[in-house]
């Protein structure tokens, strides 16, 4: 079944100010697919702060777990009490780590409401030289595809892929593998720099299932109107 345009949008709550996060969550939570909270927020406010921010909305918990399999499974079980919709882990943790995590997520499933695990492949902060320095194969895109394939074979539900990786990952991993894409921004949103970035509609066209969008929504004068505008843009193309 195709995903509705509004459900595709995951709003990144890009502040660790608890009251501002709650206010934003309350304003946009019901109008998007879910809300993303990251490591900084989680470490500052814990599960209680996450619960208060997300309310009844769906949670994308971006913790990028990476450790030996037992430790990752333990950490995963600790946060599955939050019933996250999506949770991230580093694919570089290896096949066994991902398999065990996938089993733990399935075991904790509550009917259809199972936590979807997403692999992080190569951090966008790394380039070819960084991969070489850490003994990994270049170029970056090859390593991204290698880790995406491994994530798929190890039972993860999908991966995080930057806009310019989406099409290649989709081709590599097929139609039933989730691709979640950060770093997209609508053409109309205020830009800090003149860098060419992909729009939400373009990312969906390239094969992304879900889009993580922060500032264009959270810093808009009217966050709900910003969501509406993005939804219309995606619908116009699909």
């Amino acid at each position: 079944m195709p995903i509705g345009a509004a459900e595709r949008i995951i709003c990144a709550i890009d502040t660790h100010d608890q009251a501002v996060a709650e206010s934003l969550g309350g304003r946009v939570g019901g109008r998007v697919g879910g809300l993303k909270l990251g490591l900084e927020f989680f470490l500052a406010h814990g599960q209680a702060g996450v619960r208060r921010t997300v309310g009844d909305s769906r949670l994308f918990l971006d913790l990028k777990l990476h450790d030996i399999p037992n430790t990752v499974v333990g950490g995963l079980r600790s946060v599955l009490t939050l019933r996250p919709w999506f949770l991230t882990l580093h694919a570089a943790g290896g096949g066994e780590m991902m398999r065990r995590a996938a089993e733990a997520a399935k075991a904790a499933a509550d009917g259809e409401a199972r936590t979807r695990l997403l692999g992080v492949t190569v951090l966008t902060s790394l380039g070819d030289a960084d991969l070489a320095a850490t003994g990994q194969s270049r170029p970056v895109l090859d390593q991204v595809l290698r880790l995406a394939r491994l994530a798929r074979e190890s039972g993860l539900d999908g991966v995080i892929a930057s806009p310019h990786e989406v099409a290649a990952v989709r081709a590599e991993c097929g139609p039933d593998f989730l691709i979640v894409t950060p770093g997209v921004r609508p053409a109309w949103s205020a830009m800090d720099d003149q860098k060419r970035v992909m729009s939400p509609a373009e990312a969906v066209a390239a094969g992304a299932d879900y889009l993580v969008i922060g500032r264009p929504i959270t810093r808009a004068d009217d966050p709900r109107a910003a969501v509406h505008r993005i939804v219309e843009e995606i619908e116009a193309v699909h």
Binding site: T15, H16, D17, Q18, A19, V20, E22, S23, L24, E40, L43, A44, A190, D192, R215, R219, D221, D222
Partner: protein, 216 residues
């Protein structure tokens, strides 16, 4: 639910440590040279970096230009901009868009009609701060931090679409009453935790935060 506390005008490491150690949710750095609490960006940077993500780091500005904000934000990591001057709603929105940092607008309050102004900021601010309007007869009054309160009953029973904070003349001994009357879930203190204007007292910071915890 516990009361959120903001210790404003932090300008020394001992005060910062007392605020974080005592459980403050926010700390404020003042970038307004007429204030005895004012810091240069160079002075504030190590304090803000030391605070890290343990608290929300607030930069207090009074009618700042983009240049001033650029200079400060370029050097000092800030999580929230407190606009404590006569910034119009358009200006508040423009600052929020330009810098991509959430904004708290201070609303000076003396009489009931002063509260009506807040509505103009609902769409452009992320938080509101109700502070006592500087007394007309006070010489060299600052936009805030004058150790005066407004009539807390003005806020009784009111609800706001944004998170809001109570400020103005609070200290450890009147905090419980202020919260009881206003229903505030967040409070801001500066002069009430100082031994003299501009000099924070770690012991008073600790006492204030303890008083806030007892309420929550």
């Amino acid at each position: 639910m516990s009361i959120e506390t903001k210790i404003c005008g932090v300008n020394a490491r001992a005060a910062l440590d007392a605020a974080i150690g005592g459980g403050a949710s926010l700390v404020g750095f003042v970038f307004y040279p007429p204030s005895p609490r004012s810091l240069t960006p160079e002075e504030a940077a190590p304090l803000a970096r030391a605070a890290g993500s343990a608290v929300v780091r607030v930069g207090l500005f009074v009618d700042p230009t983009d240049d001033e904000l650029d200079r400060t934000i370029g050097k000092v990591p800030l999580d929230l901009l407190q606009l404590h001057g006569k910034e119009s709603p358009d200006r508040v929105g423009a600052i929020r868009r330009r810098f991509g940092i959430p904004v708290m607008k201070a609303i000076p309050v003396a009489v009931a009609t002063d509260l009506a102004v807040a509505a103009d900021y609902f769409d452009v601010a992320d938080r509101l701060l109700f502070d006592a309007k500087p007394p007309k007869d006070l010489k060299n009054a600052l936009p805030g931090g004058n150790a005066v309160s407004f009539d807390w009953r003005l806020l009784a029973g009111r609800t706001w679409p944004l998170p809001w904070m109570l400020s103005g003349g609070l200290h450890a001994d009147n905090l419980a009453e202020a919260v009881r009357i206003t229903g505030a879930s967040a409070v801001d203190v500066s002069s009430g935790v100082e031994e003299r204007p501009g000099r924070k007292d770690p012991a008073r910071i600790g006492a204030f935060l303890t008083a806030a915890r007892r309420i929550g």
